[in-house]
């Protein structure tokens, strides 16, 4: 009975979403107040209904209701409770429900926090969000109902893929989806302003905090996914250019361009068309990502259900949403006015240039991701595109972005002269060059690529430090300023991590018997022994290793080889000793003859800086959102 309540709530939500998507939009267009005011209550009700529906599904997992097909397929009575809750979004149907739940959540937040906004604008924004929700609800109810019954009920469930039984995976999808779905708000604001024909600075001002918030979640979601892949997949890598990773990275690139472009639109009234287009593109990328993951057109480690009906439905939805938005854009964009004039060398130009690089980067990732599909569609054969393409194309595009990042904040709006820029930046350049030459030579082998990494990272850091000093002399820096600095420093920290790991990591694949020692990166690792261990729903062989430096034991490490009861695929659980300047990573391979084991050991210098950089970026975003200007607006 309870699952039917969830199903029923979804059907009701569809009805409410149709009202939310149709009446306020017409009302706003025709000036009918009585239709327009429906937007807020409809949004609140649909959020409530989705919350009920999502809660019901979570409940079914909590009480192990295996008469629900989705629960039987993704859970198991032996599964620990926290993973049972994570399993709610562990499969196709549930993750789509989460998607819509978050969408209505964002809409609800807009409805609550937009008291000072013009009523027509609110009605249009909520209306657009209602239409998107309608499309997705039709998709779920039509092709992917999570509440479908299994009669007779299963004795026990099939359990969640052991790879997904991990705390990182409990939080990764909600974070990522918050980001994906959050761009729908920026999208809705853009469409609303196109509809009203009022593409102005006010629109940019409203949508900025929303866009930045979505960007924060996306940044954290991607970082969490990367971190999970690093410690759970047992390959020791942190980014694989897998189609699904790319699907989350493209909206991030466009979103990053968008938050910068919005600044220009808000402050200078410029780039209006460009900003609107970016807002449409960011959400389109999110939808495209959903399409790529859900339709099975591309192979990926994330391979989800591949029901062709689903693919066609999402493609239809994608075409409708994006196609109609771009059509509207083609109709309305030519009417917008130009913003303030600016000269060839100005902050506007630098931001625009950076933006172009971001879009090109997203485009090249899109091309690499879809290339196998394009070639196949043209009957030219089957190919796969791997990391070599992405590294070769992506890195050169990011070099100028990093260069510009340190210059942009020094430039004034409208116009800047080259002399002033040079005067302010020469010191940063000196620091960067010195760091680029000295650091690699000190650590070990000097290569051009390592030097380039340090050059760019220290260029950004030194420029940032100079900006902070200058700002503090003038007065208390605003939160926006702090946010920008944190964001840019985050990138520099990230680049240092990537450079260090890329150049100086050590990897050893060895056969070890108890008592054997292997040395990596100045550490000795000794195998003490391997013995059985018992987990809640798995049995494991657990190795005990001593991590030693100069003969002194610093840490004990316990990598495991797990056999989950529900799955025959053995899982490798690496042991990682994390540190600020290096990770030591030990993973247990296979038992060999005697009582020896195959063991893989990595020394990964500064690898945690990669995720630390992402955290800094997200923190920067948080500061920007909390800037006083927006706080005032919310409080009124």
């Amino acid at each position: 009975m309870i699952p039917e309540i969830g199903h029923f709530a979804l059907i009701l939500a569809l009805c409410v979403s149709i009202i939310q998507g149709v009446l306020p939009l017409i009302g706003a267009q025709q000036g009918r107040r009585e239709w327009l005011v429906l937007a807020r209550p409809a949004t609140q009700i649909s959020f409530l209904l989705l919350a009920i529906s999502f809660g019901v599904l979570a409940w079914c997992f909590y009480v192990n209701d295996f008469s629900v097909l989705y629960v039987a397929e993704h859970s198991n009575s032996q599964l620990p409770t926290v993973y049972r809750l994570g399993a709610v979004w562990g499969g196709h149907e549930g993750s789509l429900l989460l998607w819509i739940f978050l969408l209505t959540g964002w809409a609800f937040a807009v409805a609550q926090l937009s008291k000072t906004l013009d009523e027509f604008m609110v009605a249009r924004v909520l209306g657009v969000l209602g239409l998107v929700a309608t499309g997705l609800l039709l998709f779920v109810l039509g092709t992917s109902n999570p509440f479908e019954r299994l009669i007779p009920a299963a004795q026990d469930g099939r359990s969640l893929n052991p790879l997904l039984q991990d705390p990182g995976l409990v939080f990764h999808p909600p974070m990522l989806y918050m980001g994906y779905v959050g761009f729908s708000v920026a999208f809705a604001f853009a469409i609303a302003s196109l509809l009203s024909g009022r593409l102005d600075a006010a629109w940019a001002r409203w949508s900025r905090p929303w866009t930045t918030t979505a960007w924060i979640f996306l940044t954290l979601g991607i970082a969490l996914g990367s971190w999970w892949a690093y410690y759970e997949l047992g390959w020791g890598g942190w980014w694989f250019w897998d189609p699904v990773e790319n699907a989350s990275f493209m909206p991030w690139l466009i979103g990053t361009a968008l938050i910068h472009s919005l600044v220009v639109t808000e402050k200078r009234g410029g780039f209006k068309n460009w900003t609107v287009l970016l807002a449409i593109m960011a959400f389109s990328m999110s939808l495209l990502g959903t399409f790529l993951v859900r339709s099975g057109v591309l192979t990926s480690v994330h391979a989800f259900a591949t029901d062709p009906r689903r693919g066609i439905f999402i493609l239809l939805l994608l075409s409708l949403v994006v196609g109609s938005s771009l059509f509207l854009y083609a109709l309305r964009a030519p009417k917008s006015t130009l913003g303030g004039k600016f000269s060839l060398l100005s902050r506007e130009t630098l931001i625009l240039l950076g933006n172009v690089f971001f879009v090109v980067a997203a485009g090249s990732v899109l091309l690499g991701t879809l290339y196998p599909l394009l070639i196949d569609a043209l009957n030219l054969g089957k190919i796969s595109v791997g990391p070599p393409y992405f590294n070769a194309v992506f890195v050169p595009i990011m070099v100028p972005v990093l260069f510009l990042m340190a210059v942009g904040p020094w430039a004034s709006w409208k116009t800047t002269d080259l002399k002033t820029l040079l005067k302010r930046l020469w010191l940063a350049a000196v620091v960067a060059f010195v760091a680029a030459i000295i650091i690699p030579s000190l650590i070990g082998e000097f290569t051009i690529l390592t030097a380039l990494g340090f050059l760019l990272a220290f260029w950004v850091i030194a420029s940032g430090v100079l900006q902070i000093i200058r700002q503090c002399k003038v007065g208390m820096p605003t939160r926006s300023f702090i946010g920008m600095q944190l964001g840019h420093m985050g990138i520099a920290v990230f680049v240092i991590g990537v450079t260090m790991v890329g150049a100086y990591q050590e990897e050893k694949d060895v056969r070890m018997a108890p008592g054997d020692t292997v040395t990596v990166g100045g550490y000795q690792i000794r195998l003490m022994g391997v013995g059985p261990a018992q987990g809640p729903n798995y049995q494991a062989m657990r190795g005990t290793f001593e991590l030693m430096r100069n003969g002194k034991v610093q840490e004990l490490m316990y990598p495991e080889k797990r056999n989950y009861d529900s799955s025959t695929m053995p899982m490798t659980e690496a042991a990682i000793d994390a540190g600020l300047t290096r990770d030591i990573y030990v993973s247990l391979g296979e038992p060999l003859e005697g009582n020896a084991w195959a063991v893989r050991v990595y020394y990964k210098p500064f690898v945690d800086w990669i995720w630390g950089g992402c955290l800094l970026m997200a923190l920067g975003g948080l500061f920007a959102v909390l800037d006083k200007r927006y706080r005032l607006r919310v409080k009124k």
Binding site: L318, G381, E590, E593
Partner: protein, 176 residues
Amino acid sequence: MKAKFIIPLLLFVVLVGFLAVGLSRDPREVPSPLINKPAPAFKVPQLADPNKSFSPEDLKGQVWVLNVWASWCVACREEHPMLVELGKSQVAPLIGLDYKDKRADAMEMLARQGNPYNLSAMDNDGRVGINYGVYGVPETYVIDKAGIIRFKQIGPITKDVLDKSIYPIIAQLNKA
């Protein structure tokens, strides 16, 4: 409507066109880059007797078939009758590569379903699989006398594949 503002829409229409065609294709049918390349060397324990090892070197001078399988693989059960037929035909040695499996499970499955293989090698940690570019289990390779991979089947062997590809290729390679 100014022309330049329609460009994004046109680009998107092209993209949708490609995606629509892409939906009807199977991305898993990727030809192996290893076709016409030497079969990667390896030396791993045999399943039946881990004290003995197997290496592709052992079969130099013969045309042989390598079939990647595992006890946990459902599709392998589907292709099992084809393997039995291939094994009985004795046109070429059939070697199994037991991929990421537990020895006991694998032995039990062979005992229950019948063992079509001349012998099976154990690839417990999947490293041999990585070298062979295994996308998923099952996969089947035909390797010639010089140790060159001449054919690869991703996914289960069907009657069709056996009659139209594997047998003719083996016959042709045996003549060479």
